[in-house]
């Protein structure tokens, strides 16, 4: 069981337990036998489950594929798999999947007084200034990037 933060107040934080999913306790096929019982039986632990580790909030988590090199200086390359959580608030320096003027784009967010900047991590690209003129949403915040070697 794990907890998902659902609400923050100045004095208290609220969590909701998630009970579904994940790997179950392995079954030890000890059975009844004439020999010695397995000495490992008392030390059974659950196998490492990347779903539990990487998907903090499965209901709001989606996957995206990267196309392009504008974020290469922080290690996100073409073809990488992104884990994106829509429940997270976009804050300064978060890497976010944004939808701007009809297209999904991956950038770092910088909030300014009356606009927002989308900062690339590659000197060949320029920051994008987002104003109220643009059709713009922060679609989700990137929590992990997975690459294959």
């Amino acid at each position: 069981m794990r907890l998902v933060k659902t609400k923050d107040t100045p004095s208290l934080s609220f969590y909701t337990p998630l009970t579904e999913g994940g790997l179950k306790q392995p079954i030890i096929e000890g059975g009844i036998s004439a020999g010695f019982p397995s000495p490992a039986e008392d030390f059974t632990e659950v196998s490492i489950d990347l779903n539990l580790e990487l998907l903090k909030n499965p209901s709001s988590t989606f996957f995206c594929r990267v196309s392009g090199d504008s974020m290469q200086d922080i290690g996100i390359a073409d073809g990488d798999l992104l884990i994106v959580d829509k429940s997270l608030e976009p804050k300064d320096d978060k890497i976010a999947v944004c939808f701007i003027d009809g297209e999904f784009t991956l950038k770092k967010i910088k909030l300014d007084k009356d606009c927002c900047w989308l900062i690339p991590a590659n000197k060949n690209y320029k920051p994008i200034k987002v104003t109220s003129e643009n059709e713009f949403i922060v679609w989700g915040v990137v929590t992990y990037a997975i690459k294959s070697y």
Partner: protein
Amino acid sequence: MFALVDCNNFYASCERVFNPALEGKPIAVLSNNDGCFIARSNEAKALGLPMGAPAFKYEAFCKANGIKVFSSNYPLYGDMSARVMQILSQFTPEIEIYSIDEAFLLLKGFDYVDLATYGKEMQQRVEKWTGIPVSIGIAPTKALAKVANKIAKKFKERTGGVHVIETAESITKALKWTQIADVWGIGRQHARRLEAVQVNTAYDFIKLPEDWVRKQMAVVGLRLQQDLKGIPTLGLEEGQKSKKGIATTRSFEGTLNSLPDLEERIATFANHCAQKLRAQKSAANVLMVFVRNNPFDPKVPRISKHIAIPLAYPTDSSITLGQVAIKGLRALYEAGVDYKKAGVMISGLVPVNGKQLDLFQREQPKHDALMAVMDKMNKRYGNALKVGNQDLQRTWKMKQEHLSKRYTTSLSEIITVSS
């Protein structure tokens, strides 16, 4: 108190989550096989695209009006629905998933909680986490929560999509506003009959004498009347309900006219139904087969036939149901007809453990073991085993010309973000 949470234009909303450029644009979604329109965004409704309209008739209309058409993408809608329901279940332990896009929530022990605020919180969390907008109606009973939901939707500017009716005055006001035909659980026939005696609104309905309601609409109507009066009568139905009937019907991509082709289809449909039956641990007493040609073809007379066959004993066997279905098909089949659609329906369902064995004509007990193996193999290897009357070579593909991607259930179809 009960809440009814309803996803706004659910299928269209699912498409928009992964294609935000469609926000505010007209969208329509087609049924299986791209047959007819089964979902429309508000914009498409406003343009006058009728519900259930056949796709080919409105192709030009959609093009001319810029309506974006989608084939139904049930892997996507199903996954998004599960996410919404999971989030809703964080707000109360008691939830009834009423349909793919609707859930009743029982809010018990919330006396010191402002329910309007609580509803807003639910709405915001679902929309933020999944991108799906929802409307919420909150009231003392299920039937009233339905009414409240309708008001929340209809007067969105004022309610913000969340509406609570709790006081006697607000209940009366809401019932007076609700047309009798729009009341949850009142079918078209009852509505017509009620309108004939000047019962035009839900308020008129609750003023009817209980005796009259019981006589005209049986106990079901009476329970509904109580619920609308604000006396909780209908409870939550938790867990997966066993279905009362199961059907598999398909429109063919072209038309079929040879008996062997149709037999193969019908056997497959029967097998499909049998699989669903076994999954819910029921057996069927009646099997119905239907076939029809294209009703929109003006050159040929309409042909639509069906036959219901009572089964000698309740069964869930793919073999028995397939044989009976083929027998039914042979009785209906006419050479020279171009069939466009066919289906198998089974009803009279009973739980398997209550199967009544016929004194003389017993089911092959071997079938049970065989079916168990078949289901297990098919689960593991993905429909590897078929019944003999199904075609092994031919794969029948659904017509899905406007299909969006399975963004959430297939890693090769996730959204691409340019960087």
